[in-house]
Symmetry: D3
Subunit: 239 residues, 6 copies
Amino acid sequence: MVRLRWDEYTYPEIEKKLKNNPVVIFPLGSVEAHGYHLPLNTDMIQPMWLAERIAERLNALIIPPLPYGWTENLKSFKGTISIGFSSLYGIVKDILTSLVAQSVRKIIVLSGHASSNHMAALRLACEDVVKENRDVKIMLLSDYYIAYKYRGDLVPEDDGHAGVIETSRVMAIRPDLVKETYKFEKKEYGKYMVIVDYKDIVPYATFSDPHGANKELGEKLNSLILEELIKIIKENFNL
Amino acid sequence: MVRLRWDEYTYPEIEKKLKNNPVVIFPLGSVEAHGYHLPLNTDMIQPMWLAERIAERLNALIIPPLPYGWTENLKSFKGTISIGFSSLYGIVKDILTSLVAQSVRKIIVLSGHASSNHMAALRLACEDVVKENRDVKIMLLSDYYIAYKYRGDLVPEDDGHAGVIETSRVMAIRPDLVKETYKFEKKEYGKYMVIVDYKDIVPYATFSDPHGANKELGEKLNSLILEELIKIIKENFNL
Amino acid sequence: MVRLRWDEYTYPEIEKKLKNNPVVIFPLGSVEAHGYHLPLNTDMIQPMWLAERIAERLNALIIPPLPYGWTENLKSFKGTISIGFSSLYGIVKDILTSLVAQSVRKIIVLSGHASSNHMAALRLACEDVVKENRDVKIMLLSDYYIAYKYRGDLVPEDDGHAGVIETSRVMAIRPDLVKETYKFEKKEYGKYMVIVDYKDIVPYATFSDPHGANKELGEKLNSLILEELIKIIKENFNL
Amino acid sequence: MVRLRWDEYTYPEIEKKLKNNPVVIFPLGSVEAHGYHLPLNTDMIQPMWLAERIAERLNALIIPPLPYGWTENLKSFKGTISIGFSSLYGIVKDILTSLVAQSVRKIIVLSGHASSNHMAALRLACEDVVKENRDVKIMLLSDYYIAYKYRGDLVPEDDGHAGVIETSRVMAIRPDLVKETYKFEKKEYGKYMVIVDYKDIVPYATFSDPHGANKELGEKLNSLILEELIKIIKENFNL
Amino acid sequence: MVRLRWDEYTYPEIEKKLKNNPVVIFPLGSVEAHGYHLPLNTDMIQPMWLAERIAERLNALIIPPLPYGWTENLKSFKGTISIGFSSLYGIVKDILTSLVAQSVRKIIVLSGHASSNHMAALRLACEDVVKENRDVKIMLLSDYYIAYKYRGDLVPEDDGHAGVIETSRVMAIRPDLVKETYKFEKKEYGKYMVIVDYKDIVPYATFSDPHGANKELGEKLNSLILEELIKIIKENFNL
Amino acid sequence: MVRLRWDEYTYPEIEKKLKNNPVVIFPLGSVEAHGYHLPLNTDMIQPMWLAERIAERLNALIIPPLPYGWTENLKSFKGTISIGFSSLYGIVKDILTSLVAQSVRKIIVLSGHASSNHMAALRLACEDVVKENRDVKIMLLSDYYIAYKYRGDLVPEDDGHAGVIETSRVMAIRPDLVKETYKFEKKEYGKYMVIVDYKDIVPYATFSDPHGANKELGEKLNSLILEELIKIIKENFNL
């Protein structure tokens, strides 16, 4: 069995591997409330599952995942740990800069958390690294950019945070961490209004009803997302 | 079996656990060259092993480890990934602030990496959090603060990075990641001179000869460090 | 005729007006290339037109528009003037903080430029102001959040920057600034790839073919957006 | 009629104009209390009037004015909107950097607001841009650097903020915005003492008595300042 | 003899002295070229001489002087050591904040260096400290604000850096540091042009001809400035 | 007698001296409580004494000492003046950068204050300067790195801040500033606990009993440290 993790190798082993210009995957999660039914590490479990399969299939390397992200508006829910915008930007910029300085030229930044502010911090970091190194190719996405394409088809149109997709996917990967019951309520709020505490809208940190979520659907979704991702990665990096 | 990881719980479960004012452990590592014989995640493996045993014994919770640290002077060695001083300060400050905002009052920041600059970033972050919350108790250390007490006794007087202690400890925890051969060389350099690239001193990223390292010694050291740590923690937090 | 502009009043006049808790509108633009056919101030003209009509209808006040925004990826095109993320965040945060300190409690931040990074800077600024003043209500949007709802219906599905909507709207507001001919070309690029220079994709700074744009369509779109906006504003601020 | 505004052109038009190495004017104002008699935009109106005439006469281009400046010590007066020192520095540095990157080499930064801190932010930004681009020529001033030369001659020796010069000049440019009555009072305060709230000194935001101000004097002053400015600009840029 | 220096006391001695609410003087200098005839510490010698006499006369305390200031535009001249704007702001803000936290309420910030950017950093620091502590009185000036009042009277109208006043004053205080010969040349340059290297204007770091400087004039000037300063201080702090 | 101070020379004199590539010494202190018996400038007196003798012996130059350092945890004691971590880093970085820009290549940064955070700020500044100028040699230390080697030998094993070494050394240099009586008490505290106010541990700002301190011991220690330092400096800079 080939090791997938960058950090399980010695430095001379990495030095050797870098000569083949491998794809390097940087998975990111978030420690945040996902309702009464899903664990706090929900956003880390999903991209990690994908990263491991992509690495196996494409002979890529996975650097240590960053389990923390920007999730300020969920901080009222116990257990949520958020890092600020500039801290997130800083650490991601530094990590990518280290990789690039070591000749890595194909990077996938894959975030399980997809909030706009979180993704903006990642995007600015990626863009600044590419500006300084125009021959580096970075692919940046949340697996939810792909997952949400199945809304209206396999899952409800308004499926969101801790809803059917997310619950099903975690059931398929770590069923031991999913609770049997859930609570869901969503309040009205003004369009385009700036909201700083999601507890005002979704008192149980669940943005859509997870009713109907099941392991089989999760396996199907995980598989669909994985295949779509692998197709795109092959095209982007000419593999 | 009780779960040790904070992030494997749902938010209402953490809310419940926080009522008992548990000790929370924040393990930190570093992705850095440790010679021809040790893996890049050497500094993460060791505090993680300790954190899990402490959590079991003292009913503590472990938040997701931060695998990245300040290790600028090892960046010439492939595989090393370093984050800057202010990025490290920022993310640690934010994580601790999130914990404190959720009523956590007993925190152990345990770093496998012990470089002075790295520890200064952690210390400043801890101090700033305590200044803003004078009732929070934070214990900050590297397990090497304890490990190095056995220098001159169980191991050579000048044992250091990737030397006998570190090699033995990793052999005891993850023997599959340790290589059989190593390279060691250490050059003279001026006292108190500012060095920015350790490759100028230790061309193989090994600061002392690991000769004599073995699994049994590693188990003994791990056990000694663990017991010492548990004793101090009990005293500090009145457990 | 009632003055709409905050800055055309004396300070005692504003002091008096603030007693009625008026809605205050902060319009933002961007100085950026919009093809061979549209002026650099395209993103300022449109929200300004809306702001004036909203102010008239709802007795709101307009503070001086900020004509500059984050538009780094268009900087290769002459004429484009971009300000950095933190500069944009800083100035918007300061302006909103000044308003809030003077008892303003109903604010609309209306940006003609809708790029994700630009909007993230505005959102973070708005959120930070609301966090520090929980009784302040801020509505944040680009008029293109509403405009793009007509894609697939009144205009092509893939209509974008300098396309049919934008060209038509500017034709309706400032026909003297619109050129008769345009150039359009769009190149393939990898999905989710980080792009730092849009010239690599759209050599004429036009993201969709403006063919078919006309003044009547522009008037219709402007009117639809205005009415939708007024409806939402009334609901959000209970007017 | 030739367009004076940079942002009313398309990008290819600007590209063409830049080949002639035109002078580019960047006008700045401030939204701040100017007594009971003058509007909040007093500091924007005056440099804008000058900029337009200079542009006409010297074939220069005007980029969008920045209507906001550092004016912290007037914040107690309603209507005043101040931006912080680093926000002001940042946005001005970014705007100038964009211009310079597009080959602009002759820039006039013309501020209607002349407070020392405000001007220091502009000066530092200008200096940093020139340090990085030693072939760029930047002229930085407030029109009040010239206007105050007429103190003791055409106007009182101690004329200042909202006094005879300023009132007369605005009467000449935008008479509709000037009120007929004013309030003036100035208190004693310690020499060289640090003052953070000007309300403690001038309760009506008027630093000198505007008595005697009139439109004709304003026209004369505007004309004198304009001609002096044009003379200096011609010398500085060899026009 | 009473000690004048804050730092020559023990902490309990200072604790006792603070009960009388003493005036505290913070002298600042700059290490910068002052022609062929004056030493690099010219800007530190002068305010230090004043501070010592003021302290003696008014029973004030002198904290350690800060010998470094912002002097970027003299950096081409060897020997000049400049600190950046934000470093200067930061250290002055921190020092004043420490004083205020220890109940000091009457502070004189006295700078021998009077460049606009340097003074702006000091002013912003002072203002921010006063904003956070409205009962603190800070007097901020350069002794050259007073010295230049004698221009046209005792000394030439255009006297400046390293000219008659400065040379005379240093001759009176530290004659051993003044050289007998000097070099002076001043080139024309555009009005209001941004200059980043003063070597382009004054190739010998001397802004006006020191011809005629002498010890007696220096003693007279020092005495005049001292008496004027003491008069103002007494008025400002009700001594 | 040769002048030792960089700032007592004119700029052409320094220009001439720099041709011989002299060693430049940058002494740093701290204004902080040192018990009932030692003055606040204790940490400045000691390195200054060393610097002057080193300069005499090795023909080195001393730039103006920085009397302020990071000493946050002593701020509860009156008289202590602390500057923040980033202010300290900033000013030291700027000063070193100025020196390096003027061709200085051999620098000794010598701090009388040895707290870990203080030294980390200095180290980061030094490292960043060396990274940008790989041919610059910087030696960074506190004289206490050497002084503490005599613990257990000439002085008690646990000697520390304001203890026997420090008291003796100051008695030898500035006996007039040392008081005859002292107060000492040290409380127990948890190992590795983050402490932000040292008053909780040492109510008299004295970390070890100064009993037995005397002038002769101070002279001996000063001499031992000086000779050791000179030996190391000669080796490091090939003098």
